[in-house]
């Protein structure tokens, strides 16, 4: 273990919980959680990337409001799968994973992605029908889509690299 573990009581508690113990000791829980975590974030990031590229101008003939109604629930479902399974994986070594710089980078990316999505809902989302199809998205929407792409792809890179730092 290279980085000094963070011995915050919450992290210690999670690691020593029945969940953490079960995740470490069960033959199938860990790989099972990994599979569901990957399915979840594939759905999450896949749906988001499709939508972001549409906002950036790819396939501009597709009505953006309908596209959003299709993509956003899928992204939410993916997030709902990835979050609890991620917490399960985290519980195995919570104190050392929390200290891992790749994991910290991943967390920052996730929060940036979520905050960006919230801002998008408050702003460009409300006037989406004004640029529904065939019209370039407003600048704010395109910037948001760019941030979103970077944040979610960064989250995947950070997550995959936890094992190497």
């Amino acid at each position: 273990m290279e980085h000094a573990p963070l011995d915050h009581p919450l992290l210690v508690g999670l690691e020593q919980s029945a969940l953490g113990a079960a995740m470490r000791q069960s033959l199938v829980l860990y790989p099972g959680a990994e599979v569901l975590h990957i399915l979840g974030f594939a759905l999450l990031v896949g749906s988001i990337v499709g939508f972001d590229l549409r906002v950036l101008g790819l396939s501009r003939h597709l009505p953006v409001a309908a596209f959003a109604r299709h993509s956003v629930p899928l992204a939410m479902l993916g997030f709902a799968m990835a979050l609890p399974t991620g917490l399960m994986l985290f519980s195995t070594e919570a104190t050392s994973i929390a200290a891992n710089p790749a994991f910290q980078f991943k967390l920052v990316c996730i929060f940036a992605g979520l905050a960006n999505a919230a801002l998008f809902h408050l702003g460009p989302w409300r006037r989406m029908r004004d640029w529904d199809s065939g019209i370039p998205a407003p600048r704010a929407a395109r910037i948001g889509a760019g941030i979103s792409l970077c944040a979610w792809i960064g989250a995947i890179c950070g997550g995959r690299l936890i094992a190497y730092f």
Partner: protein
């Protein structure tokens, strides 16, 4: 103008992806085979001092050559799948581990295969 933004976005994506690949990967953790010196095969014949049967990688401490080696195994499920459940290995058992020394941590090795009670299992 639109097309330019898209091009920039796609280029950015590509750069991010490449940066992800190029990051100084095997620096710290004992995962992956890159941080082990595969040019020199190490054979440790010794006595198990301790077994850590946990996900994501089982480990054991092996007393060999007058030193206590931390031996990184595979995920427990793989070990069971290949015919040597980690639960079969106990402190005090004789065990032979063939693998590679860590480039970063002294007395740490990643096992390519282990032999225990006459059974040899490949761990990679």
């Amino acid at each position: 103008m639109q097309r330019r933004h898209l091009t920039i976005a796609l280029a950015g994506l590509g750069i991010l992806g490449l940066a992800g690949l190029a990051l100084p990967g095997p620096a710290e953790a004992h995962h992956g085979w890159g941080s082990y010196d595969a040019s020199r095969t190490l054979t440790l014949d010794g006595v198990v001092e301790k077994v850590v049967p946990d996900n994501p990688h089982a480990e054991l401490v092996l007393r060999a050559d007058g030193r206590s080696w931390q031996v990184i195994l595979s995920p427990p499920y793989r070990m069971a799948n290949r015919g040597k459940a980690i639960a079969e290995i106990k402190a005090g058992d004789r065990l032979i581990a063939v693998g590679y020394a860590s480039k970063q941590h002294e007395n740490e090795m990643r096992a390519e295969r282990i032999t225990h009670n006459g059974v040899t299992v490949e761990l990679r």
